[in-house]
């Protein structure tokens, strides 16, 4: 009896199912290509996907309040480009200051979006679509079509190579961010308010939560994370150019959705996003190793997303049916 309950509980929890699938995937790939689970390989994979993972965290909060933000890569590109330009023209060279500036730029971008959405009542998809064009265009205009290449970046690019306590700096930042967000979302009032606003905006407002303010802060946080992500991307790839991360906003949304975040708001968790992002990273990395031609990569990725979300729905339906059965007389 107890075993049944445990199994039911496990199959009901999406995160646990996802984790099992992820482990299964890793095992299969490791068998086919033993070089997959080596330290360097995992290190590389995490480093390359750290930016997307950070953005997915911010996207979690945005999706939780029932919004969406497709301007994330443009904000990252703008902040990254500003960092690159500051380095190129030798205006500021201190790594820490540059990171703070990038986060600041991102926050300003996020605040603008937040104000337009919460006060201006513009639908999030429209507002962020407009800002996607605006911020990306600004990145091009500010840089005057010049890139900042490795030679210009001086010491900044060494940040991505450096280690602290044995873990790569970039990965460390991602890990710390995930821990912070996990704590905030689960154990602080602010986190609970985000879930409340997402579940039912009017009910939350009536119960005294300033829904508009929550939405504004959520978009600001998203912007700040984008700024951080942009600066990290510049460091990891040793170059800043205005078309950085073009087209990758859908990858961020996909990572959240695979991780079980509902696009209608109110449902989702940090651990889900972590697993979703890891799954996308593993799939990206593993496909060439398993012999799937790089040309078929996108198709396989899209198909996997489709399979995951359909399975999700089927699972939800069966849990619903089961719980209904228990209530039948």
């Amino acid at each position: 009896m107890k075993k049944e309950a445990l199994f039911k509980k496990m199959s009901g929890s999406q995160e646990i199912v996802l984790t099992l699938v992820l482990i299964l995937l890793c095992v299969i790939i490791q068998i086919k290509s033993p070089s997959f689970l080596t330290m360097t390989s995992i290190n590389d994979m995490l480093k390359n996907n750290a930016v997307i993972m950070l953005l997915a965290l911010g996207m979690l909060c945005v999706l939780l309040v029932g919004g969406i933000d497709i301007s994330v890569t443009s904000t990252s590109a703008l902040s990254g480009m500003i960092v690159g330009l500051l380095l190129k023209y030798n205006i500021i060279e201190n790594t820490l200051v540059l990171f703070l500036i990038a986060i600041g730029v991102g926050c300003i971008c996020g605040v603008l979006i937040g104000v337009i959405i919460s006060k201006g009542k513009v639908p999030p998809i429209i507002a962020t679509m407009g800002f996607m064009y605006i911020y990306r265009g600004l990145a091009y205009v500010l840089s005057n079509n010049q890139w900042a290449s490795a030679a210009d970046l001086g010491n900044f690019k060494n940040f991505a190579l450096g280690k602290f306590l044995g873990i790569n700096n970039v990965i460390l930042i991602a890990v710390i961010s995930y821990i912070i967000f996990f704590v905030v979302m689960k154990w602080t009032a602010y986190g609970r308010k985000i879930y409340a606003v997402g579940s039912n905006s009017e009910a939350a407002a009536i119960s005294g939560i300033n829904a508009a303010l929550i939405k504004l802060t959520v978009y600001t946080i998203m912007g700040g994370l984008c700024g951080l992500g942009g600066a990290l991307a510049v460091s990891v790839y040793s170059s800043a150019q205005p078309n950085m991360m073009y087209g990758q906003e859908m990858n961020v949304i996909a990572a959240c959705v695979i991780g079980g975040v509902s696009m209608n708001g109110g449902r989702g968790s940090v651990q889900g996003v972590l697993i979703g992002a890891l799954m996308m990273a593993v799939i990206n990395k593993a496909l060439p190793l398993v012999g799937i031609d790089s040309i078929a990569q996108n198709t396989v990725q899209g198909a996997i997303i489709m399979v995951v979300i359909v399975l999700n729905v089927l699972m939800q339906r069966s849990t619903f049916k089961n719980s209904l059965k228990r209530r039948e007389m």
Partner: protein, 369 residues
């Protein structure tokens, strides 16, 4: 009912404003150059008639269409082009396509035709996709030449090639052979899968590889980095993991070689690198020892490519050449050039031989470009 009538009236007003309010009809009037141009004194040829006021460059408009926006190599070429045109008194328009695709270039070409420019010099993102637009340009009397990345023979009058394709292919092939130590696996990291110039050089490399002395070399993969540092980095890492026995990566694109050099050097990998790179970007990666990932590489001076492109465009516009084989002209201080036959049935002008950069001369050249 009233509202419906009103909507109809508004629609008619709409239609009229499109047809009437936008200026004159196409009665072949000479259109003046755009309000931005500074040096224009006389009107340039309009879209319907050919221009036959030869011999006078000042007042003519030359357009350069790059492959994409921002790529340092493109920027240097544009610099050289602009400098020559403006010092000769002409007007130079440099247009970057919205994205690095042929579709975006088609819009740019159509806009230039509407502006009635005298010459279009283009670095094509795709060999064939631009044919319709460029043929329309040539029919409107615009001289079409290409530089760096060619379009097919029917779409151009001539092509300014930085170095013979065969020469580049041979030089790179020999470099791979030398660095590999005579045998082993090697891979290519290219730009986009449609890029005419990279594809031409890869073809040349493959045909050079059929010779006996390359028999022990194995080309395992051609990866496409799309001229994006991120994607190039990811592809390099994928190559390193897929082929543990890889010895050499050859990247015939400045963005690719830059990304790959960083990856290899940061990892301290034993895989070596060669290809085509900008000295200013590759300075810290060039070296003979184990610490540096690239023993040597090749390129040419992109600024000179731009300048030769400008001289060619000017010569076409003032009709001192027509783009046919054996035409000769003087390209300012670059010297005399003769148009030769190109492999695809059209004609080309070759700037010179590819130049080798290694640890002995990298510092000197890094300061220049």
């Amino acid at each position: 009912m009233k509202k419906r009538n009103l909507s109809m009236i508004l629609s008619v007003v709409l239609a009229c404003s499109v047809l009437g309010g936008c200026g004159g009809s196409d009665s072949g009037a000479v259109s003046s150059t755009t309000s931005e141009t500074t040096a224009a004194e006389e009107g340039t040829g309009n879209t319907e008639e050919t221009d036959d006021s030869a011999g006078d460059i000042s007042g003519k408009t030359f357009a350069l269409v790059t492959k994409s926006a921002g790529n340092p190599y493109n920027e240097k070429t544009a610099e050289g082009f602009q400098e020559v045109i403006e010092s000769a008194g002409g007007t130079c328009i440099v247009k970057h396509p919205e994205q690095a695709t042929a579709d975006a270039q088609v819009s740019v070409i159509q806009s230039l035709i509407s502006q009635g420019v005298d010459s279009i010099s283009i670095a094509g993102n795709d060999e064939n996709a631009l044919q319709a637009a460029l043929e329309e340009a040539m029919a409107a009397g615009i001289k079409v030449s290409c530089l760096d990345s060619k379009v097919n023979a029917d779409s151009r009058q001539t092509f300014v090639n930085q170095a013979g394709n065969q020469e580049i292919g041979q030089a790179l092939m020999d470099a791979v052979l030398d660095i590999c130590g005579g045998e082993g696996q090697w891979a290519i990291l290219s730009a986009t899968s449609q890029a005419t110039n990279q594809n031409a050089w890869i073809e040349a490399m493959k045909s050079a590889m059929t010779e006996e002395k390359y028999a022990k070399l194995e080309l395992v993969e051609v990866a496409y980095g799309d001229d994006e540092p991120q994607k190039s980095t990811d592809q390099t890492q994928a190559l390193l993991e897929k082929y543990p026995d890889l010895k050499v990566i050859c990247a015939p694109t400045t963005v690719g070689i830059n990304a790959a050099a960083k990856v290899l050097q940061d990892k301290g990998s034993s895989v070596k690198l060669t290809g085509l790179g900008l000295p200013s970007e590759m300075k810290e990666y060039i070296g003979d020892d184990n610490e540096h990932s690239c023993p040597y590489m090749y390129l040419w001076n992109p600024i000179e490519v731009g300048r030769l492109g400008a001289y060619t465009a000017m010569a076409l516009v003032d009709e001192s050449i027509t783009g046919a084989v054996d035409d000769t002209f003087t390209a300012g201080d670059l010297g005399d050039y003769t148009i030769v036959e190109a492999a695809d049935g059209g004609t080309e002008i070759i700037l010179g031989a590819p130049y080798k950069f290694d640890s002995s001369n990298i510092d000197e050249w890094a300061a220049i470009y």
